[in-house]
């Protein structure tokens, strides 16, 4: 069994006509049923509102409206038919600060030009198989800038909201329980009760023997 792209539509927004045609041909070769094209951000947003595609593939540098501004419109404009649509940004930039800039505008995936067919396919695959959850905060709305949590992830989560996550809560509680047990063990070995003044010389082991929890 393999993907069937016949029933999906992808919008490509690119001002460079040969590049636009090339991207369209690639998507049609993948079997995409409907490829919508636009030559800049303004036309791109108009067509996005009209046709509500499943994925948007957009170039960064365009005039009068670039790909970053188009992404912001898609994510925040009242007329946007789908604020959660995956957006793949194509660009020649690969510097970290540029990736961060794109990410902060609400882009889902970043595709560095020049790319090959497998590069494009990998981005689409990620969108389908590992979709990002969305985050709404005071100053950001867009895909979570971290990839969706893997089920095998064992570590703590850092966001305040993550504490609502049962796995995180369990991890923190276990962490606290272990710390409590270790503290009690130290007190017992030193012959102390809760509230007694701690005297290091009473310890039968040194600091190196204590595991930091």
């Amino acid at each position: 069994m393999s993907y069937d792209f016949h029933s999906i539509s992808i919008e490509v927004v690119e001002d460079n006509l040969p590049m636009l045609e090339l991207a369209k041909s690639l998507l049609l070769t993948f079997g995409v049923g409907n490829v919508i094209t636009a030559r800049d951000g303004e036309e791109g947003f108009r067509k996005f509102c009209e046709s509500n595609p499943d994925i948007v593939l957009v170039d960064w540098m365009m005039k009068p409206m670039d790909g970053i501004s188009l992404t912001r419109l898609i994510r925040t404009h009242v007329s946007s038919p789908n604020q959660y649509v995956p957006v793949i940004l194509m660009t020649g930039f690969s510097q970290k600060r540029r990736v961060i800039q794109a990410r902060d505008s609400g882009v889902t995936e970043f595709l560095v030009k020049p790319f090959n067919a497998r590069d494009l396919y990998r981005r689409i695959y990620q969108i389908i198989e590992r979709p990002r959850q969305f985050v709404r905060s005071e100053d950001f709305f867009g895909p979570d800038r971290r990839r969706t949590r893997r089920d095998d992830y064992q570590g703590p989560f850092r966001r305040e909201g993550d504490f609502m996550n049962p796995e995180t809560a369990r991890f923190r509680l276990e962490e606290r329980r272990q710390a409590q047990t270790k503290a009690e063990e130290i007190l017992t070995n030193a012959g102390l009760k809760k509230g007694d003044k701690f005297d290091e010389s009473l310890l039968s082991y040194g600091p190196d023997d204590i595991d930091m929890v």
Binding site: M1, S2, Y3, D4, F5, S7, I8, N16, P18, M19, E21, L22, S25, L26, T29, F30, G31, D54, I55, M61, Y84, P86, M90, T91, G92, F93, Q95, K113, P114, F115, N116, A117, R118, Y121, Y125, I127, I128, E129, P131, Q133, F134, V135, R136, S137, E138, D139, D144, R159, E160, G161
Partner: protein
């Protein structure tokens, strides 16, 4: 430790998991190797003539160079750099898509240079002009592919020019200005 307690309270964030309608529509199993190879072949065999496009971006780069040369002290350096950076980025992005990977490689070095400098001083602009001349020669000479030994020498020569510049003018490196 004190810094820890002086931190601003963390922002509250709401997490939303939209339904994966795309997955429902396309099913599973990925695309076959055969189909991906067909798509790769389509890219490799595209007959687009990159020269007119390349010339257009080179003209843009030249305009950026001229603007940087003619600029007064009051001009915004970031804007002047952007005037050269954006056409450079287009050359990098499109060269490799249309059989000119050497253009991509050269333009990539140009972008890295422009991303690092703080101001487009006369010496920096001279280096950008060197890139412009070299890329133009590659496009006009229709040097497709990586250019072999000749291509590698061109890249190394321009790379060396950038390193010499950084050694001579370390104060014009953006990161060194922002360092505490």
């Amino acid at each position: 430790m004190i810094d820890h307690y002086n931190q601003k309270p963390r922002r509250k964030a709401e997490f939303i998991r939209p339904p994966n309608t795309l997955k429902r529509k396309v099913g599973s199993g990925g695309l076959s190797e055969e189909l991906l190879n067909k798509a790769e072949a389509l890219l490799e065999n595209n007959a687009v003539d990159f020269r007119p496009l390349g010339e257009m971006y080179l003209e843009g780069l030249k305009r950026g160079i001229d603007a940087a040369r003619a600029a007064s002290d009051k001009a915004d350096p970031e804007e002047l750099i952007a005037g050269m950076l954006y056409p450079g980025m287009q050359l990098k992005a499109n060269g490799g898509m249309f059989h000119y990977p050497l253009v991509t490689s050269l333009a990539d070095h140009l972008i890295q240079f422009l991303e690092v400098i703080a101001e487009p001083d006369a010496h920096a602009v001279e280096i950008v002009e060197g890139f412009h001349t070299t890329i133009r020669a590659v496009i006009l000479g229709q040097v497709k592919g990586d250019g072999g030994r000749y291509g590698a020498e061109l890249v190394t020569a321009l790379e060396d020019a950038c390193y010499r510049y950084f050694e001579k003018y370390p104060e014009n490196i953006e990161a060194s200005r922002n360092a505490p």
